[in-house]
Symmetry: D2
Subunit: 426 residues, 4 copies
Amino acid sequence: QATSPSTGTSTNRSTGERYQRIRAMSVNIAAPLTPEDCAMQTMPDVSPTRWHLAHTTWFFETFLLKEQPGFRPFHSDFERLFNSYYNSVGEPFPRHRRGQLSRPGLEETLQYRQHVDVAVSQLIDQGELNEHQRYVLELGLHHEQQHQELMLTDIKHVLASNPLYPIYTKNTATNNNTEASLSTTLQWSETPETIVEIGHNGKGFAYDNESPRHRELIQPHAIADRCVTNGEYLEFINAGGYQQPEHWLSLGWTAVNENGWKAPQYWVRGDEDWRQFTLSGLRPLDLHEPVCHVSYFEADAYARWSGKRLPTEFEWEHAATANPTGSVFADRLMESGHVIHPRTAGASDFTGNVWEWTGSQYLPYPGYRPVSGALGEYNGKFMCNQFVLRGGSCATSSDHIRLSYRNFFPPDARWQFSGFRLADSR
Amino acid sequence: QATSPSTGTSTNRSTGERYQRIRAMSVNIAAPLTPEDCAMQTMPDVSPTRWHLAHTTWFFETFLLKEQPGFRPFHSDFERLFNSYYNSVGEPFPRHRRGQLSRPGLEETLQYRQHVDVAVSQLIDQGELNEHQRYVLELGLHHEQQHQELMLTDIKHVLASNPLYPIYTKNTATNNNTEASLSTTLQWSETPETIVEIGHNGKGFAYDNESPRHRELIQPHAIADRCVTNGEYLEFINAGGYQQPEHWLSLGWTAVNENGWKAPQYWVRGDEDWRQFTLSGLRPLDLHEPVCHVSYFEADAYARWSGKRLPTEFEWEHAATANPTGSVFADRLMESGHVIHPRTAGASDFTGNVWEWTGSQYLPYPGYRPVSGALGEYNGKFMCNQFVLRGGSCATSSDHIRLSYRNFFPPDARWQFSGFRLADSR
Amino acid sequence: QATSPSTGTSTNRSTGERYQRIRAMSVNIAAPLTPEDCAMQTMPDVSPTRWHLAHTTWFFETFLLKEQPGFRPFHSDFERLFNSYYNSVGEPFPRHRRGQLSRPGLEETLQYRQHVDVAVSQLIDQGELNEHQRYVLELGLHHEQQHQELMLTDIKHVLASNPLYPIYTKNTATNNNTEASLSTTLQWSETPETIVEIGHNGKGFAYDNESPRHRELIQPHAIADRCVTNGEYLEFINAGGYQQPEHWLSLGWTAVNENGWKAPQYWVRGDEDWRQFTLSGLRPLDLHEPVCHVSYFEADAYARWSGKRLPTEFEWEHAATANPTGSVFADRLMESGHVIHPRTAGASDFTGNVWEWTGSQYLPYPGYRPVSGALGEYNGKFMCNQFVLRGGSCATSSDHIRLSYRNFFPPDARWQFSGFRLADSR
Amino acid sequence: QATSPSTGTSTNRSTGERYQRIRAMSVNIAAPLTPEDCAMQTMPDVSPTRWHLAHTTWFFETFLLKEQPGFRPFHSDFERLFNSYYNSVGEPFPRHRRGQLSRPGLEETLQYRQHVDVAVSQLIDQGELNEHQRYVLELGLHHEQQHQELMLTDIKHVLASNPLYPIYTKNTATNNNTEASLSTTLQWSETPETIVEIGHNGKGFAYDNESPRHRELIQPHAIADRCVTNGEYLEFINAGGYQQPEHWLSLGWTAVNENGWKAPQYWVRGDEDWRQFTLSGLRPLDLHEPVCHVSYFEADAYARWSGKRLPTEFEWEHAATANPTGSVFADRLMESGHVIHPRTAGASDFTGNVWEWTGSQYLPYPGYRPVSGALGEYNGKFMCNQFVLRGGSCATSSDHIRLSYRNFFPPDARWQFSGFRLADSR
Ligand SMILES: [Fe+3]
Ligand SMILES: [Fe+3]
Ligand SMILES: [Fe+3]
Ligand SMILES: [Fe+3]
């Protein structure tokens, strides 16, 4: 749920254009892929590209169009097939079987998008959206952008699972390793005890889990001015970090052993060196880049090994608000033909490079209440056994992120563009 | 392994034409499918259509072309990717992950086929194949036909797993329900104790598991003149057969409960009647057809419930040899535009309608020895915990089947076109 | 790890007596059990009584006696066999196999206890314990008491798993249902925003996870003056709570369905009424008792259903500190021959009746550092995906509990004496 | 089910004495064990000793006493608790949870035995047993003896699972390694094609699966005059047998890798030599003993590696009938204080040393029909995916075995005293 956005000032025309632009981005992301690429589910957490294309469309059809007079669904089975987890809408098709559906195919899926886009655009053009409808429209667009990032991370997992290591885009523009981008000595920013305002400030859209804005007591602490780099993380590996239980949470140590983790996901051990799989293929490991595709367990173990800890989500938001630096987001990277990959030059930035694990488990803010109805299932029911990530990554869209944004994943998740920075108590 | 076939009499031209014809059939089978259809693996036993197309090509490349001077593989990774289970060739790509490979795509797979077909055809045309090469060529064509049947049964499983129930071909020519094809009263054919010759008689090709031909003592028994029909099997269901443990093998009763079996696979319960999913979509259940898509457990339970038993594979071969009636095979059905589905009129036939479960576990014939080398892995290492099926189904090719043919599947397999006929001891 | 306790003032004699008393309690808890009872592990989380008796002894042997000059272990294999999870000590015997060890038997285990007790008592009597040793001794006694509660909850699970419903003790003294103990109308205690001191105040022993004492900002809220009762929880059940996904966390709804939960653990549905299994056998469900043996998921779902939430652990500690009421603990219940079971009269009490789930995931306090060495594994490595419970139950010892005590279990754990009270944001 | 035995000639007195003797043997087997030993289930296939004691008693109570006028069960819950797999009697208590029941304890279990023994003895003494009752009595005694062997193999597994390697009995009388018992050069016994009578000849008791006696055609073959020895099997290990897939059935190779098999069960690798765990503790590996505790997969792999095969059950029965040599059975070994362990001197014997795996899957004999009613579940429903073993082992009772006896286990079972001899086709 989002707090009610002040979209009233935007004209219908600009709303319609924004709808078209954001919807088109999803199709653009799928453009370099084959129909078979779009059909794969290489682990239960991964959804096929085609499913994302359909599900984001289902969102508008179900929550916006369905209540229109004279509504007829594009296909009577799609309500169930493309429901992700909204029990209020009906029993969803089992998540782990999304990769077992060859139909509707890519072409029919794009027709489904077209069909719904026409109807939504008409609705917008009529200019008679009520407040709830404007809210659902806005929510739907942010939902679309959220899935755009998942499309990129899911397809990265799909391609990396194939011994042929297929390439998503052949972009060769280097993100990194310019003189200016070498990693620098880490600096610490000190903060005494203080009470701060946390959460969404009410300007523009936000998800319900960013509210209510409220006061939090920040403990005395220091926070690093940049993320941990591949080079630093490699020291942990070379020091035997993955073989020594003393650095790990108990569940983390189990994960290391059951999954055979020896390095971040997508690191590939060559005979003489480490390489990493990127959306533009296998590349040499750049030691100055922020480390990426690590789980909370790995971030936490590195921090313990180095005698530090991860920042809380409140410490992070406080630091980022004081220093709102941003790197380059997915939409800009795609436009400019760059690889969608963390930039060395962005290692200090709080947004737009890697999601940063915090030491906070994902829980409701004081006084949080999900909206009533099916859309209340958007966020609230996942507030258990996940950790908060902040900042947005190189796979996020630039108008999708804000400093109060709370992303969340289970502590063993590694397939997102997730890194971390250190903090320490004073 | 096959016993050495007497292919010497066939001219190179006819060999080449036969190679082209059989290879083309695989591509024809895939023709009605979308690229996404060809990518699906809806259970571990199912392989994607595209995998079948590549693996059958891999067979010729690996066992025939690889030993040619100057051989270069089409793609260096394919040796591992499309190895099914030949440990002697190297460690195969994990079977359960075949559906997680989006590349090589359908187009590249067809290029792979083309590439290998050119090379094999040249080899044939040169007319200098030695005996071992002629044997491998022949084996490769039978291997291809074996996989053609699997392509049909696997794609049936893929389509049936989709709530949209997609149709493979829209054929509407009725196979059944003509006056002439109504099921008739079952007749018993009696046999006293007798010693018979069992196994391949040396004419034409056969797999190694059909040899050596040897003498078996047949016990006094009777065997039914036709298969059990849907109507008869429905009586078992309606009598509570799936709820009564006393009819079932212990492992079968476990399978019923763990899988929630209530009817043969692909039977769909409507509000008022039973329908069944076919390769031409959902159709009303024809009570006169042979029951199909039952496991050994179900065949055995029906037999116990009816006070009878399944025939041994020797009893079956003896009866079929005395009365070698055949129905219509897959290649003919496809040519004539019929549905690939068991025919009512074929209920009495021993070949070409449904595979018939026998009560014999799959074991070597006395004196059986697999060939040396990798091709020895073709059959011999599977002689454990499987049951023999005989006869060939409506999804088998007509020149692939013979009365000595021993098909085999685990007792819980249901996705093949498998039915059964009854026998009784005297 | 515990913060260094001020045990210096206690004379050696009183220390020795306390050691003897606490150690004896473990043996007393096992006294009503048969050797077979003491051998059972009815789920992976449950440890056999005999294992608890040995492991608590191992703790003193490993961390106190082993470093003494001339030390010889009671048995060379016990270091591994009875290591629970201390990787620094060596690879522990697999937890899920604790119930597969018939030896050492009960008698030998008691000899092991005797042997170690003699050595520890001598050490105490010599009066030359250094500070670290006094700390380990104190920690070992609290460790013993922690396992005493687990012995009671584990054996309850063992007995309840048996269709014979065996009785642990035949105590019939009623805890409940006196006039004075009927549940009363729930009252709310209001608190405005305030900054409070949280954590152990340094007096007496505490685990390391209760430190450092630090300042927390409490949000405006109200907290209930008593726990939710069986009667109230039954309304949730009767209203269909276990069938309605909208009240549940996503992981909770999965747990309900995978485990078939329909009521709290140990509730037994009779033909006409509900009964519950207690350590004194099956009893009618007392509607005025605090509900017990519910998971975090169930506590949270009840709270959502009723429009409230669970208190944070800070809110709980603040409220309990203001109103430090206590019920009757395990040691007193055993002495007086009462059933070890929550008391209706204690429904308002913050300690000594049921552990109370809070809405706080178990995370380190700001500035928390585990001790170095093996004992650092005591608490710190479990700070992930668990929820904090507060207060201590009817199965806790009276000198083991304090208001700053942080118990923690995964959100699906139900076999502890766990209940909850409600809170609400203002 | 047993074919009706001619027990009419035995007087009631001798029947009663035999009943007492066989029943006492079960208690004798349990005598060296502690109550905790008797409670363990170290894998799903293993049942606790105490369960065996109760279940064999349940057999007489359920099938013999229950139909007596005025019958009252010893305990109303035992009918379900100690039902192994007789669905006709009711839903059995889950097999994998047998080790989770601490009650009834050993003492109460022995009282249960006592109670039933008194009633059965009275019934026998009254001398009015009808034919069916005499059959059930006889079947119950053979059932008891079958479970006596399982008690020994199950407790061996229990003790071997404990790192302390507890000893069942301290017997030190050497079975082996006398001059006379060194393994000799293997001799082959040749047989031409012949028709033989197979199955029980009607004299004395037999299970239903040994009938009907019928004619089988034996193929020309040779069979070894003794079992494969530890020394010979060690050559297979040292030649890399467990690392080479080419010797193994496909399912066998999976079993090797999933279970990490490197040698027969109970072989323990020391620094310099192999030892084996026996019921009298760890002992040096005797190279002249028959190899024991191998699965079918291992027997088959050894045979393939050596260029031979396993005999069929018919070849075995034919050879054993021609040369009915027997070694020493469990009851005699226990009387004489010997270790229950295969004897080197018995390597040539067909009975009483190790069960011998045959290459025959367990299927019904021609014309086999299980008895009607619950006792029909004794054998018939297990005729699927198991292999036949013949001969009886050092853990079998001497009056329980005969040459027509068909034992059966899945091909991965290793915890029985199972070895094998080789055969070859001619
Ligand atoms: Fe979504
Ligand atoms: Fe193949
Ligand atoms: Fe402990
Ligand atoms: Fe039994």
